[in-house]
Symmetry: C2
Subunit: 129 residues, 2 copies
């Protein structure tokens, strides 16, 4: 089954400031905020999809991304029916997963990340229900 | 009015190969292909949004991006009611536009790009009708 586009994850040093800028500039509104895995996260609604603003509070992965590459798009997330099946299909096509099995992600979703080396340089996240 | 997520633009050296990988791995199917402004472009349908695969044939901007940053996400595009109004609202919020006024983009859409320096490191494209 065709997935849908769930969100674009964007690394930033100040998620609230970026949320305010995107609200004023694009009309995007806050749908959810939480601190998860040491990352302060702001989800902005954008039609049926989201922008996920990621501000590292105590998370070396996102902090390291900001240091190496600077602000900007960190990952793209696809909403899938079943994360386990999506992981299986990815592996069948030679795509290595960062997460061997689905794990809990932000906003209570089941998630798994794929290795960007195998997906055209894009860090892809599967998001389940 | 709230925009919707139109597409994620992804720079690649081989758009057909990446389209085949995304078809097999994610179940995304080709919605449209064209060569525009020296870029061979493949749009993949993803729910109501798209992935736009960008392969430079004779385009220094995308070729330069691949040389500097390598494969991966190049820009994010928002579908807006009116590109001219969206540009006006961006400028009112201190966001500089790369395109001073709407221009013709891929797939017959009116488009305009904003400067990533002013939008949290994200190259944002407005896509009109």
């Amino acid at each position: 089954m065709e997935p849908t586009f769930h969100h674009a994850g964007i690394a930033t040093e100040d998620a609230d400031a970026l949320a305010a800028l995107y609200r004023d500039t694009f009309g995007l509104t806050v749908a959810h905020t939480e601190t998860f895995d040491g990352i302060y996260i702001v989800f902005l609604a954008c039609g049926g999809s989201y922008f996920e603003l990621l501000e590292p509070v105590d998370n070396d992965t996102v902090a390291g991304f900001l240091e190496r590459q600077g602000r900007g798009v960190h990952h793209l997330a696809l909403a899938v029916e079943d994360v386990e099946s999506a992981l299986y299909q990815a592996r069948e096509n030679g795509v290595e997963a960062i997460d061997d099995s689905p794990r809990e992600g932000a906003w209570g979703h089941e998630v798994a990340f794929l290795h960007p080396r195998d997906t055209g340089g894009v860090l892809v996240e599967f998001v389940g229900h």
